[in-house]
């Protein structure tokens, strides 16, 4: 499937997930955005050799995903697809970092492997956090939350309008791409000249569309500012959830829960 078609499907799929009505979906988007940011900062602030301490964050994510009705399979597929850069860079760590940090019986594990694992874990956690955010909130709501959190109006408007027209442009691009593909019989890909021509046409149509939209705006009294609806309301439940989640995240960052659990278990054993 061409990249443009899979991109379209991805967007619509996440959009559909976001239209759900679970307890996570019903939270105020600002709570979700800030919690997601806190999550990422906590994970990323771990030291390079930390692995076990990050795992409770995975449990946290799993719980949120279950409550929010997000299929784990989709997330894992996405993780695999987007991992190359992090994996490629992280892969060098085992070759460069040889000092032993862990002794498992007679097996010496080097810092390089541990930090590589840490990188993979970081990647998985941060990427999943974002997918969970968008799948339980929806892009429009995220933008409204950002606007309320202080992002300049014109940037929030830009985000909203971009999202609104992404589907239209993807569809147009898909059509042109398919039309060209159907007429090219031997080659599998298109050369730069054809590409530039295709893009040029699409660009002209886009600019024309921009002008028509502008006209439509003027006809409805556009005066330079677009007013976004502001009907977000924080409920006591939102505050409670936010504080609870925040405390859990900070606690997980501060204390190595995996280690505590392990200590607890090993102390129980004879």
């Amino acid at each position: 499937m061409a990249k443009i078609e899979s991109a379209f499907l991805d967007l619509t799929y996440l959009d559909r997930l976001a239209a759900g009505n679970t307890v996570i979906h019903r939270l105020d988007p600002r709570v979700k955005v800030v919690t997601a940011a806190l999550f990422v900062v906590c994970v990323v602030s771990f030291d390079k050799y930390v692995v076990a301490a990050m795992l409770p964050f995975a449990v946290f994510l799993m719980i949120v995903m279950r409550l929010g009705g997000i299929p784990a399979g989709y997330v894992i597929a996405k993780l695999i697809v987007t991992s190359p850069f992090a994996v490629m860079v992280g892969m060098f760590n085992p070759f460069l970092d040889h000092q032993t940090v862990l002794q498992l019986g007679s097996l010496a594990v080097s810092g390089g492997w541990v930090s590589f694992l840490s990188i993979l874990l970081r990647f998985g956690l941060t990427v999943t956090a974002m997918l969970v955010l968008i799948a339980t909130t929806g892009f429009n709501q995220v933008c409204m939350a950002l606007e309320r959190l202080g992002v300049p109006n014109i940037f929030a408007v830009q985000l909203l309008m971009l999202y609104r027209y992404i589907f239209v442009l993807l569809e147009e691009g898909q059509r042109m791409h398919r039309a060209r593909a159907l007429r090219s019989f031997q080659q599998r890909g298109m050369g730069m000249k054809q590409y530039a021509y295709l893009l040029g046409q699409l660009l002209l149509r886009t600019i024309d569309r921009g002008q028509r939209i502008h006209l439509a705006m003027l006809c409805r009294g556009f005066d330079g500012t677009i007013r976004i609806r502001r009907n977000l309301r924080i409920t006591p439940r939102d505050i409670v959830v936010f504080l609870a989640a925040g405390m859990v995240l900070i606690a997980m960052r501060r204390f190595n829960i995996a280690l505590l659990l392990g200590n607890f278990i090993t102390d129980l054993l004879p």
Binding site: F139, A196, L260
Partner: protein, 345 residues
């Protein structure tokens, strides 16, 4: 290349976000004051265009690999640097959220790397002077290629500095640079060629579009440019310094705390809570090498970690592994057990 959260430290990420946020604020104000309110819908649809364009690949001749338009330079040509920066930022935001291209923290880096360099350096300092107010196909080609190459090289350089500065990856600076820069030279060349081709197409088909874009002044005044470049430099330097500080001492905050407050504060937990926390803290580290987290046998003011680890406390390691394994199992369990509760979208 997009920066990833997995390789980023909070210090570097935070610094870049500061730079990006500041730039967004400046650009927003500039665009707001712009009298041409056609820009508002145009920014939206052009952002969607760039997004869609990036999804279409072409084959690069002689290599067989595929490439696509980045879009930074062409947006700057059509919208001017400020509006273009906001547009690129919005495209990257959508990519980060939906396609995990980067991450929430890395988004600050990516917006700056892929937005600031084309918009505030490549376009006004290279493309505009080379193309002039009366574009010719050759002028456009030269301007776009030079702009593309420089923009992407700077972007690649920034990614390397951010990665090395974060100290999560073990890649040394020179090796990383040696890998990234040549690759991005090629990518920049391709970007420049594609940009040139598209801009030339527009110039031939509807020259008035480029004419109106060319009439605007690229950057308000020299001072602003210096501010923006200064932002970027400051962010990189601050981030680098902070992360060096943070990582050369495993827990920089505690180290500095130990240094300034002395041993007594750490060795004598006052109340029950403190004793509990101290006890937890003793076990809280995977690597019991940190002097002040040890049973107390090492002086708290040891600055550098010894190169060879002393005998690792087997108990801690086992416990760590057991705990880690259990937590992982728990995560998987939650995932599997409650699958039945999944609501179909």
């Amino acid at each position: 290349m997009h920066m990833s959260d997995a390789l980023l430290s909070p210090a570097v990420g935070g610094a870049m976000w500061a730079a990006t946020a500041g730039t967004i604020a400046i650009c927003a104000r500039k665009v707001q004051r712009d009298l041409d309110d056609r820009k508002v819908p145009l920014m939206g649809v052009l952002g969607a265009f760039v997004f869609a364009a990036q999804m279409i690949n072409f084959t690069i001749p002689a290599t067989g690999s595929s490439g696509h338009l980045g879009g930074g330079l062409i947006l700057a040509v059509l919208l001017g640097p400020y509006a273009a920066f906001l547009t690129i930022a919005s495209v990257l935001t959508v990519q980060a959220l939906f396609f995990a291209d980067g991450g929430l923290l890395a988004l600050g880096c990516n917006i700056f790397n892929l937005g600031a360099f084309p918009c505030f350096i490549a376009y006004p300092l290279l493309y505009r002077p080379l193309v002039g107010t009366n574009p010719t196909p050759m002028g456009i080609a030269v301007g776009a290629i030079v702009g593309g190459i420089v923009g992407l090289q700077l972007g690649a350089l920034a990614v390397v500095i951010e990665t090395v500065g974060s100290k999560i990856s073990a890649l040394p600076l020179q090796a990383f640079l040696a890998a990234m820069l040549p690759i991005h030279l090629g990518i920049g060349l391709v970007e420049g060629l594609v940009t040139a081709a598209v801009v030339s197409f527009i110039w031939k088909a509807r020259p008035e579009i480029l004419r109106t874009a060319a009439e605007a002044r690229p950057l308000g005044n020299l001072r602003l440019k210096k501010v923006v470049v200064g932002f970027g430099a400051a962010a990189l330097i601050t981030g680098g310094a902070l992360s060096w500080f943070a990582s050369s001492n495993p827990d920089g905050l505690e180290w500095s705390m130990a240094k300034t407050s002395g041993k007594e504060e750490l060795a004598a937990p006052a109340t029950g809570i403190h004793r509990l926390l101290a006890a937890i803290q003793q076990h809280a580290s995977f690597l019991p090498d940190y002097g002040f987290k040890d049973g107390g046998s090492q002086p708290a003011s040891t600055a550098q970690p010894p190169p060879a680890w002393p005998a690792v406390d087997k108990g801690t390691s086992t416990a760590g592994l057991v705990g880690g394994g259990l937590t992982l199992a728990l995560a998987v369990m939650v995932g599997l057990l409650f699958r039945k509760r999944k609501q179909t979208p």
